[in-house]
Symmetry: C2
Subunit: 154 residues, 2 copies
DNA sequence: ACAAAGTGTTAGGCATGCCTTACAATAATT
DNA sequence: AATTATTGTAAGGCATGCCTAACACTTTGT
């Protein structure tokens, strides 16, 4: 209904997040490059950027690089933080390989509640203060894996 | 492209999961009831059921109740298990209220990788063997919350 | 300066999934 | 049996997001 809503579809969140990553790397970013980064067509990027401009989250003129507005930065930062909380949790606590953790974070970041993310942070911090716990967990998991392999062999 | 693909869109997964829940409760389920359960129109259910029939996951004739095929049960069970792993993890480990845990599980179950779910199970089991850890975590979290409240007051 | 390479947009489509409206068919109640 | 309630379906739309093809514009390099 409203063009300038305060929530973004998960698709648009992906776009603004990618723009934000370029922003914090102080790299200039054009539509074509964004298309390559997100593995979508230039046409799709063109549509998405129009929407983000309409929502006043970015500034953009053809053939120039994309700029986040103040509100855009805020919103992007929020998405980006969610991503990192998830990625860290999967990697540090659940011992998931970085690539897989990232891929899952990318999808889940759009739908998970803030409350769960907060608890994930608290839990991670708690685990850091009791580091042996996670160390033990990882040890046990590899042990389990070894058992499974041995079981298959024998 | 292919009508009888082995993967389901998240929408169809929701439908088949709801059908499965009725199935394990040995409750008969008609389209109209399913529509009420999922908060969608009867028309949407009608469309979805046609797709599930085309994929041979359910058996269905108008005005009769919906039946899962063997393959349907297998697939539904997989979705349902994912849901439960997530719900349990959120509730037991992260101390999230049941309702919120369920709502999040409903959405995340469609996109999370099996590997992460497996690790969640292992982690939960590990925590059960060291129950004091989670107890301590919960204690600390409530303590933090109390601190925040007191900070706000003073 | 001009051609080639790169970039952006528009138009027309596809797929998902949801809706309402209107109508059809069956089930239940009196 | 007839009326009412319930259930199901078809048609026509809306929104999201993705695509290709074709065209337009800009930048780069010779």
């Amino acid at each position: 209904m409203n063009q300038i809503s305060d929530t973004l579809s998960s698709g648009l969140e992906d776009y603004i997040e990618a723009i934000y990553v370029a922003h914090i790397n102080e790299a200039s970013l054009k539509g074509a490059e964004l298309a390559r980064k997100l593995n979508v067509s230039r046409a799709s990027v063109s549509e998405a950027l129009s929407k983000l401009v309409a929502k006043k989250l970015i500034t953009y003129n053809s053939y120039e690089s994309i700029t986040l507005t103040k509100e855009g930065i805020e919103l992007a930062k929020a998405v980006y933080n969610k991503h990192h909380i998830l990625q860290n949790f999967f990697e540090q606590i659940l011992d998931i390989p970085s690539k897989e953790a990232g891929e899952n974070a990318c999808k889940i970041e759009h739908i998970i509640s803030q409350n769960i993310l907060n608890k994930m942070v608290e839990f991670s911090e708690f685990c850091q203060k009791h580091e042996s716990f996670i160390t033990e967990f990882k040890k046990e998991v590899t042990q389990n894996a070894t058992n499974i392999i041995n079981r298959k062999i024998s």
